[in-house]
């Protein structure tokens, strides 16, 4: 092939002299992008996921245009819409041209703004957890894999130890503890403390899987000869990690993150559902489920459940499909 290759090389200057741009190679990242764009499922999922993020991002703007906010207690503002028990008088929770998704039985919050603000809260927390997990995973995973030896042993045992924790139970049990670290139990807990506690607790038990994968990747990369070539040139360990290792762990990192984020969304929703996450009146995706399952809402307005339910299913499914497509685009040899 080399003979052929050389022949091609010597033949190339003629025709290529005119179009120099044509000789710019395509990076593995560009190749991935080209493959991804050909995957229809992936592209649709990406649009859906993007749509959710856009809603979360633009929630204040949307509610401004819509003319309502999730904190207004319509049971007080518009008592004509509710009966004596606080249930909207119109069917399906009072869905109308004015209240697109109806009103919440009880306090009478507007469901539409509550949902978009809930998506905003949930996604903000999940993205923060994902970022924290990715940073931790890179730091500890790459350190363990690249440095090896005692560092690897120590980090490996820490990962084993944390993986042995029953995660859900730990979340529920530790949330009040973490919250009490910031505020005295007698005072009212500010929302940002709850958000911070949710991020910390999920991060604490969330990074190990990614850390292990990145450790394995770094371990495999360390043995590659291009690392030795960099060492022979006198590159510092920091430069080797930055320029040689990090660009090569982008693939598993991106694939894993797209699987991790929906998990964090559902975990956060679970915690809020159980009452240890975000609480009223702060809107939250998961907390809407717990609201939907209260006796008052359940018996009088079953439609309420569908708004957070369907939107979350669509989001999680789309995100997981997106994760699959990203993986396929990076690793086209994996047959499905």
């Amino acid at each position: 092939m080399g003979g052929g290759g050389t022949a091609v090389v010597s033949g190339e200057p003629g025709p290529k002299a005119t179009g120099e741009a044509a000789l710019t190679g395509r990076s593995p990242g560009q190749l991935m992008w080209t493959r991804f764009k050909r995957d229809r499922t992936g592209v649709i999922s990406a649009y859906v996921v993007g749509f959710f993020f856009l809603i979360g991002l633009l929630a204040p703007l949307i509610s401004k245009v819509y003319g309502k906010n999730p904190y207004t207690v319509y049971a007080d503002e518009r008592p004509d819409l509710f009966d004596s028990a606080g249930v909207p008088v119109h069917p399906n929770g009072g869905i109308s041209g004015q209240f697109w998704f109806g009103l919440e039985p009880g306090n009478g919050y507007d469901v539409f703004t509550k949902l978009i603000y809930g998506i905003r809260t949930s996604l903000m927390i999940s993205v923060a957890v994902t970022v924290a997990v990715v940073v931790t995973g890179i730091l500890l995973g790459v350190a363990a894999g690249y440095l090896g030896g005692k560092t690897d042993y120590f980090i490996g045992r820490v990962i084993d130890f944390l993986l042995a924790f029953p995660a859900q139970l730990f979340f529920i049990a530790s949330m009040p503890v973490v919250v009490s670290l910031f505020v005295s139990p007698r005072d009212e807990t500010p929302t940002y403390v709850r958000v911070l506690a949710l991020i910390i607790v999920q991060w604490f038990l969330g990074w190990m899987g990614l850390g292990r994968i990145l450790r394995g990747t770094a371990l495999a990369l360390r043995e590659r000869e291009f690392i030795e070539a960099a060492k022979v040139s006198g590159a510092s360990p920091w430069r080797i990690i930055r320029k040689e290792i990090l660009p090569n762990i982008v693939t598993p990192l991106l694939v894993q993150s797209t699987y991790l984020l929906p998990n964090f969304v559902t975990a956060e929703a679970g915690l809020s559902y159980l009452g240890v996450g975000i609480v009223e009146p702060t809107p939250d995706w998961g907390q809407m489920f717990s609201k939907a399952s209260t006796e008052l809402v359940m018996q009088n307005d079953i439609t309420y459940m569908f708004f957070p339910g369907i939107s979350m299913i669509v989001f999680v499914v789309a995100f997981n499909l997106l994760g699959d497509s990203v993986r396929d685009a990076f690793d086209p040899k994996t047959a499905r």
Binding site: G2, G5, K16, S27
Partner: protein, 379 residues
């Protein structure tokens, strides 16, 4: 080409002044600990990968290091480029001991010792363009050639026979031979004085091997770079190197100039190694002109190498002395200047065929006996 090569060989062979000695390795040793045991892991043995070797590479010379797989050739190369730290012994570059130098202490000479790697598919970072790969060493060492690094990289690409327009391409767009050329260009980027080539062609297709070897030879002649050429292909080493050392189980057992090693070998292992090279001239009337030696068994474990001479377990001339006493690497009588052999009972300095083939492998011997009996049964 032959005439060109003989000249530097002779210069290197001459009683070199100290200025000519580029690299001097003495008593170089690398032992890898073997961990085991339960419940407490501890060192239960040492893999004696390289065990006290001496060699000298002169300026502009090509020094070949041959031996079978696992004899410590590559470890030696990695010790010299200080990818590993030696257990004992010294590596001196231009008289400066670098055997335990830190990365910072090594910095000034990093640009002078470069390496070409074995596997062209793993020696180039798949996420970097060719330009980034080749200019990387210049960037690390803060070298700013005239006209900029990009211009220099394009020159280097031209030197190694690639199109300078390949600057912005990625390694996956090249064939194995082209990738190895990129590796050569990267090694040349720092204008080194010594290149350690660790089996630079053994991963390549045979038809490409010649191209890459010729490229290396051209580079060596044009730029006067000294090479430590590590290979297990004897023919390529013969073509490329003026002096050759033969390694067996972590030790150099014979070293000398090319002609001494290839036509006047003294160590039995060198004889065996040379006789294992396949003969191309089947039509030649004197195919029986070469000696024929077939060893039996495997190389002993480097964890517990044999006492005395390490080759004695497979040697047909081994005697009690070989187990008791390790033969020193010396110039034995009948050797040319600079031809050193570590053997108590050296062979005749010839590769001519002997009266009887040495076939130590019992299975092969039985096969051949059966074949010759058959031949005699039907005259």
């Amino acid at each position: 080409m032959k005439e060109d090569l003989v000249l530097p060989a002779q210069r290197a062979q001459g009683p070199g002044t100290d200025g000519e000695r580029l690299l001097e390795v003495t008593g170089l040793t690398k032992h890898f600990p073997v961990k085991g045991g339960f419940p407490i892991r501890r060192t239960i043995g040492q893999v004696q990968a390289v065990d006290g070797i001496d060699l000298t590479v002169h300026t502009g010379e090509s020094f070949g290091l041959v031996g079978e797989s696992g004899c410590g050739k590559s470890t030696t190369g990695r010790l010299i480029t200080r990818l590993m730290e030696p257990t004992a012994g010294t590596v001196a570059y231009r008289g400066r001991d670098i055997s335990h130098a830190s990365r910072k202490q090594l910095a000034p000479i990093r640009s002078e010792i470069q390496m070409i790697f074995q596997d062209p598919y793993s020696s180039l970072n798949p996420r970097q363009t060719v330009g980034t790969i080749i200019s990387g060493p210049m960037e690390i060492n803060g070298i700013n050639p005239q006209g900029g690094r990009e211009k220099r990289v394009r020159e280097l690409l031209e030197i190694v026979g690639l199109n300078p327009e390949h600057y912005n391409r990625f390694p996956h767009e090249f064939s194995g031979g082209q990738r190895q050329r990129i590796g050569v260009a990267r090694a040349l980027a720092l204008e080194p004085k010594l290149i350690v080539a660790d089996e630079p062609v053994s991963a390549l297709d045979v038809s490409i091997q010649a191209q890459v070897v010729n490229l290396l030879q051209q580079v060596q002649n044009d730029l006067g770079i000294a090479f430590l050429f590590i290979a297990h292909d004897l023919a390529i080493v013969r073509h490329f190197s003026q002096r050759v050392a033969v390694m067996y189980l972590g030790k150099i057992i014979e070293v000398g100039d090319r002609d001494s090693i290839y036509t006047r070998p003294r160590h039995p292992y060198t004889h065996a190694l040379l006789s294992a090279v396949p003969e191309v001239n089947l039509t030649d009337e004197d195919t029986g002109g070469r000696e024929r030696i077939r060893l039996a068994g495997d190389v002993p474990s480097p964890i517990s190498p044999p006492s005395g001479c390490r080759f004695r377990t497979r040697c047909w001339k081994a005697q009690d002395k070989c187990a008791a006493e390790e033969p020193p690497l010396v110039r034995i009588s009948g050797n040319h200047e600079g031809h050193l052999t570590a053997c108590h009972f050296p062979e005749e300095p010839t590769t001519e065929g002997r009266e009887e083939d040495i076939v130590l492998d019992p299975a092969l011997a039985a096969l051949e006996e059966a074949a010759s009996d058959e031949g005699q049964g039907q005259p």
